[in-house]
């Protein structure tokens, strides 16, 4: 019987971790400006140009990309499991839209009196993620409520209400965009397209913190997530309280999505693609699928962002365009395959 054992768990995660470290290192060296690694390393603390670029520009951005890629993939995995739908992902369900709206409202109504200039940056790691978290949680609850009839979740309604909520929110965001001043609007637009940019280590650290807390919380629910994919009734027969699990997953993933969206906007399709590829490669046991998808998502977004930085250098593409470029066709392919298998959708 081939089932998940400790050996496989350790082996798969180690291989992915090594790949992630290699990717992060490689991506820190790649960019519009050539970087001499030996120069950068020898002057790491004395500070020459190479070291400055590596430490101040590239490394924080790569670290942020890894966290966000991993977080998106993790959220994709848990939402797919919880909603019993392999096509669910934060973007499709209107959740990242909700988070964006929350974040934008957070930016517009930023309480300057609460964060005086000196500690203004603290808003970036507390106030805006909080607003985005609430937006994500609210839209998740809304979409969920609208697809629940007689205690049953309807996959059709779920995807449709998600898509509709997303366009509705997009309209509100566009409205807000047209009433704020020009500079704010430019910023919002770039943010909306989903982009990574270099952030202070403090911000990167906090985003990592939120994402890791959410991830560990969800990972501890791995076994219950396995059971919930069998349907709510079957899960109850196997000792799971679906309501409690749903609440915890909604809160934990909203926390992650809020943190992610507050720094990078909506980066689509990572949460859809990575879990699927991982399931094909290593199976559906969430105790392994969750960490593997986190690492895989980190690797994927790390490279996607490098692509976005290098392709039109010195100009820069929003990374959301790169992920959507791969993700769109991939989603259509999945939809087609699921249709042929005549599964739940």
């Amino acid at each position: 019987m081939k089932v998940l054992d400790r050996k496989k768990l350790i082996l798969v995660n180690s291989v992915l971790l090594v790949l992630l470290v290699i990717s992060a290192a490689a991506c820190s060296l790649l960019g519009p400006v050539r970087l001499d690694l030996s120069q950068a390393l020898t002057h790491l603390f004395s500070g020459n140009t190479d070291a400055e670029i590596l430490l101040r520009a590239r490394l924080p951005r790569v670290l942020l990309g890894v966290a966000i890629g991993g977080g998106m993939a993790t959220c994709g995995v848990v939402l797919q499991a919880l909603l019993g739908n392999p096509l669910a992902c934060p973007q499709m369900l209107g959740v990242s839209g909700g988070a964006s709206l929350g974040g934008i409202l957070g930016i517009i109504f930023f309480p300057n009196w609460l964060f005086p200039l000196a500690i203004g940056r603290l808003g970036e790691i507390s106030w805006i993620p909080l607003a985005a978290f609430l937006g994500a949680l609210l839209s998740m609850i809304l979409v969920y409520r609208f697809s629940l009839f007689h205690g049953r979740l309807h996959p059709y309604h779920l995807l449709l209400s998600g898509v509709i909520l997303n366009s509705f929110i997009a309209a509100i965001i566009m409205f807000l965009n047209s009433i704020v001043d020009f500079y704010q609007a430019q910023g919002l637009l770039f943010w909306l397209m989903g982009s990574l940019s270099t952030r202070a280590y403090l911000t990167v650290g906090f985003i990592w913190f939120y994402i890791l807390v959410g991830f560990l919380w969800l990972w501890s629910k791995g076994l219950s997530l396995n059971l919930i994919t069998l349907g709510e009734d079957a899960a109850m027969h196997l000792g799971v309280e679906p309501g409690a699990l749903q609440r915890q997953v909604f809160i934990a993933s909203s926390l992650m999505i809020g943190a992610m969206v507050s720094v990078s906007g909506m980066i689509g399709f990572v949460g859809l693609m990575v879990p699927h590829v991982m399931r094909l490669l290593i199976g559906s046991d969430h105790r392994l699928l969750l960490p593997a998808s986190f690492l895989g998502g980190g690797i994927f977004l790390c490279w996607a962002d490098t692509f976005a930085r290098v392709l039109l250098a010195p100009a820069e593409l929003p990374v959301g365009i790169v992920t959507a470029f791969f993700g769109g066709p991939f989603f259509l392919f999945l939809l087609y395959r699921e249709g042929r298998r005549s599964l739940a959708l």
Binding site: M1, K2, V3, L4, D5, R6, L9, A81, G84, N85, P86, H150, S220, K221, G222, L223, S224, N226, L227, T229, L230, G231, D233, A234, M236, H237, L238, G239, V240, E241, R279, G283, S284, D285, R287, R341, L343, A344
Partner: protein, 261 residues
């Protein structure tokens, strides 16, 4: 002792009552078949037993009120084989069976050697070990059903509830499954309650039959007492002739339709 005991239990969805004032007890180690037409409340009754639905009235499991058990305790007592199992994710048969062990180990650990052993034994019993490593969605309806029964057995329950377990099985596998249930009942003292459609197979394998009709218990007793021409006419509205098999002395139905080929 009674494994399950319900007294004056009523259950309904918003606009329509499904069970009316039902009282029924199942002794430990008994094997009971629940019969009745579509919509008579069989599935609902099973869901109430396993704590999925809650009706008005008293429900005692092993002498204690069902409210005094938590979900995990209940799932160590009951295993359920559902009518339809929709699984959208690629799990192998072995993984599905091992999920039956989830109620015994901590949520953040992997299954230990004992869990694997129990899973293997359960698959062996249901003749499903041969496709342990294949994906569940690739299996035929019958193979899938045997995997789900294996999962129920892997829970090592005291009470096994089955909702039309033979629906997707061919005749050979139906017989094999009922023989297995009978063996589990006799050798391990497993209490079994199954909602059934096939009256003849029910009469052959179940020592006690309960007929539900419109949410009420219509008949309750041994197959010979329960399956009579009159009862079938009342409950199902069809004419049958009943003869007793000379070897087993079990009643068997012959259908007498108004028109036949």
């Amino acid at each position: 002792m009674n494994a399950i005991e319900i007294n004056h239990l009523t259950f309904g969805y918003k606009d329509r009552a499904v069970l009316h004032n039902v009282s029924l007890s199942v002794a430990s180690g008994q094997m009971v078949g629940i019969l009745g037409p579509n919509g008579s409340g069989k599935t609902t009754l099973l869901k109430i037993f396993s704590g999925l639905l809650r009706g008005e009235g008293e429900l005692k499991i092993k002498g204690k009120n069902i409210q005094s058990y938590n979900r995990r305790e209940l799932s160590q007592l009951f295993a359920v084989v559902q009518q339809e199992a929709r699984i959208n994710f690629p799990y192998s048969a072995a993984e599905i069976v091992l999920m039956g062990r989830a109620i015994y180990h901590s949520p953040i650990t992997l299954e230990n050697r004992h869990d694997l052993e129990v899973a293997r034994t359960s698959m062996d019993l249901t003749d499903s070990l041969g496709f342990a490593d294949r994906y569940l969605h690739e299996l035929s309806g019958g193979e899938k059903q045997r995997v789900l029964i294996a999962r129920a057995l892997a829970q090592e329950p005291e009470i096994l509830l089955l909702d039309e377990p033979s629906a997707f099985l061919d005749l050979r596998h139906q017989i094999q499954m009922f023989e297995l249930l009978l063996r589990l009942n006799r050798e391990r003292g497993l209490t079994i309650v199954a909602a059934l459609h096939d009256l003849n197979l029910a009469a052959l394998f179940f020592p006690r039959l309960v007929i539900l009709c419109d949410g009420r218990i219509h008949r309750d007793g041994a197959p010979g007492e329960v399956l009579t021409e009159n009862t079938i006419q009342e409950v199902y509205g069809i004419r049958v002739r009943i003869e007793h098999d000379s070897a087993s002395q079990k009643p068997q139905l012959f259908i007498c339709p108004a028109v036949s080929a």
